[in-house]
């Protein structure tokens, strides 16, 4: 009987572990510093997590489909630079769709390589990380990009505006999360993404067009990147060429923290959002405790390893691996 409850607890922990850890974290930080759960602090954290979060939503699709996307950081730099540059040249109304078009084009190219040509996603997106970085630098000539008239443009509404008291980045993040969550869990397409990632061969044999599904996951990912680039550009109205550098791995960390397996076939949008928020609140909590920003790197390291380890340990029923 005791054995049974122990197993039961283990299973609950394994299934909802990340949520429980999140709650424990929040309570711990709140006790340490009451300011942590003030409404403006929480809204501030979500707002600053929105860019990372929006990108993580798209990468969740790619990862569930059994692939990786290391190019999102450099692609985000690209869309930020492009939209800022075009803003002054053709005006914001045209710049935004143009930037979305170009970013989706990059996503389609990656999707074609990984989906239809069946090339290894890690190397393709690694190559694209470098290539898109080169593209961005060529576009900007290596210069920082700034909007000339910063106070006279409505473009800043996406990153800085409020609607009914709620910051627009939060609304965009939440809206995208809800829509993508519905697509993933309620549509035939969503089920096919899981099928392709869970067992690609079986999916092909049951008539699911693997190539097209993978292609679409990259298209979704690049759409999310374009949204993130829009938020970034609109928030700062000026940018370096390397604004998204290194974000690809932080995004992946959030997705993994949310419990998506890198082997594909598992993960949800909701869990990814939790993963993003955990990263955001850890960073914020440590800052409020007076620790430097880089302490969060070490904490994130420990948390990622523990989260994945406990997940695996619960599945195999023992803590240590059976590797000889």
């Amino acid at each position: 009987m005791a054995e049974l409850t122990k197993q039961g607890i283990g299973r609950v922990l394994a299934k909802q572990g990340i949520l429980i850890a999140f709650v424990v974290f929040m309570i711990g930080f709140a006790l340490a510093n009451p300011r942590f759960i003030a409404v403006d602090n929480i809204s501030g954290v979500i707002r600053s997590s929105a860019i990372l979060g929006v990108m993580a939503l798209g990468v969740t699709f790619v990862v569930i489909g059994g692939n990786l996307d290391l190019s999102v950081g450099s692609m985000m730099s690209f869309s930020t630079i492009v939209v800022l540059d075009l803003h002054d040249k053709i005006g914001p109304t045209l710049a935004i769709p143009a930037m979305f078009g170009l970013t989706l084009g990059l996503g389609a190219f990656i999707g074609f390589l990984v989906g239809y040509l069946k090339l290894n996603s890690l190397i393709v997106t690694l190559g694209m990380l470098s290539a898109i970085h080169g593209l961005t630098l060529t576009w900007s000539g290596g210069q920082n990009m700034d909007i000339a008239d910063k106070s006279g443009t409505w473009f800043s509404v996406f990153g800085q505006g409020n609607i009914a008291g709620v910051p627009v980045p939060i609304l965009i993040f939440a809206g995208l999360a809800i829509v993508l969550s519905l697509i993933l869990s309620k549509t035939p397409f969503g089920r096919k993404v899981y099928a392709v990632g869970g067992n690609g061969k079986a999916a092909t044999f049951s008539g699911i067009p693997r190539a097209r599904i993978v292609f679409l996951t990259y298209l979704i990912s690049s759409f999310c990147v374009a949204c993130a680039g829009l938020l970034q550009a609109s928030r700062s109205l000026g940018s370096q060429n390397t604004v998204g550098q290194g974000l690809e791995l932080e995004v992946l960390a959030a997705v993994i923290l949310g419990g998506a397996s890198l082997l594909g076939g598992s993960g949800t949008i909701f869990k990814t959002v939790i993963g993003v928020l955990i990263l955001g609140f850890i960073q914020n909590g440590l800052l409020l405790m007076g620790l430097a920003f880089y302490v969060q790197y070490v904490v994130t390291w420990v948390i990622i390893i523990l989260a994945v380890w406990l997940d695996i340990a619960a599945k195999r029923g023992r803590l240590l691996s059976q590797i000889a």
Binding site: I132, L137, A253, W301
Partner: protein
């Protein structure tokens, strides 16, 4: 060596020859400098500049032959560099005069080896995939780098050390000797020893390797310690000369190293790859950087070109393999 492996391992060297010819010819029309691209000193410099990424890429080859990956080498590189430079300012080290240099090297190399061992132990004991483990420690080790000295650069210039690092022996720079020496030793390790044979066996078919009695866990541990050691060796070679390290140094080195290894033909899935071909991959990338600079292309195009070449290599490799298999069938 049969025709197939000759074709695969020769491909990267053929590519290097093509690069040399292309940049020499293009350079004679486009270059603003008077010296030829294949200038002897220029080539020596090229080898020297290949050393930091090259030494790491050699270790990455072994990790990838195992079927693993290590994303934390850039951070390991930075932390070892900080230990190297900072340890020379410790009071008891300063009291030792120039004898502090070998000791500082030992400290730096130990740092890398220990960081590698941490990765290896986690991979072994938890069974978590190396990609995730090293993704985590890439962040974690970078955090340690920042915690050591905040956002300040760490500097210490020791002229004896600089003289050593800038020295040329038989025409080759110190860094080049380290690169070639490491390549030779690792080539021997991978081709002549049981450990090397096991590495291929594990990458090819892990289950079969376990059944054959190979202890996979300790094997992984050794290899992660080896790449940690090499990352710090690379730092030792580079920072002995430069004498100053920023906390962001070494970022994206893991991606450059992986790019070089893949260009050299090593398979991500494990079981296939060669140290010598990786050396070719490293030289090919450095040639491309230098060559594009030589013909007056903007430095930013290097990223674009290397990224696209990486994808093209992946595509060609797949096509070649598929063709080979179809020939087998008929």
């Amino acid at each position: 060596m049969n025709k197939d492996t000759l074709l695969k391992q020769g491909a990267i060297w053929a590519f290097i020859v093509v690069e040399l010819i292309f940049f020499s010819i293009a350079g004679s029309y486009l270059s603003v400098s008077d010296s030829a691209f294949m200038d002897f000193d220029n080539m020596l410099l090229l080898l020297k500049q290949s050393a930091p990424i090259g030494i790491i890429a050699l270790g990455m080859t072994i990790i990838m032959i195992n079927g693993n990956i290590d994303l934390s080498v850039g951070a390991t590189y930075a932390l070892s560099a900080i230990i190297l430079l900072d340890s020379m300012t410790w009071p008891f080290m300063q009291a030792m005069g120039d004898w502090a240099i070998p000791l500082a090297w030992v400290f730096a190399l130990l740092t890398g080896t220990i960081l590698g061992a941490i990765n290896g132990l986690i991979v072994w004991k938890t069974g978590v995939d190396a990609f995730i483990v090293t993704l985590g420690s890439m962040l974690g080790y970078r955090g340690l780098v920042f915690m050591y000295n905040g956002e300040q650069p760490t500097s210490h210039l020791n002229w004896t050390l600089v003289d050593f690092a800038e020295a040329q022996f038989l025409g080759l720079h110190t860094a080049t000797w380290f690169l070639l020496g490491a390549a030779l030793l690792l080539w021997l390790l991978m081709t002549k020893t049981v450990h090397g044979r096991n590495a291929y066996a594990i990458g090819n078919n892990r289950e079969a390797a376990v059944n054959a009695g190979i202890r996979v866990g300790p094997h992984f541990l050794w290899n992660f310690m080896l790449i940690g050691f090499l990352a710090s060796l690379s730092a030792v070679v580079f920072y002995s000369e430069s004498g100053s390290v920023n906390p962001n140094d070494g970022m994206l080195y893991e991606l450059w190293a992986i790019t070089a290894v893949v260009l050299g033909g090593t398979k991500l899935t494990g079981g296939y790859g060669s140290i010598i071909s990786t050396l070719g991959g490293v030289i090919a990338i450095q040639l491309l950087r230098k060559g594009l600079g030589h013909i007056g292309a903007d430095t930013e195009t290097v990223n674009l070109v290397i990224g696209l070449i990486l994808i093209a290599v992946l595509f060609l490799d797949r096509q070649l393999n598929r063709k080979g298999k179809e020939e087998l069938k008929t």
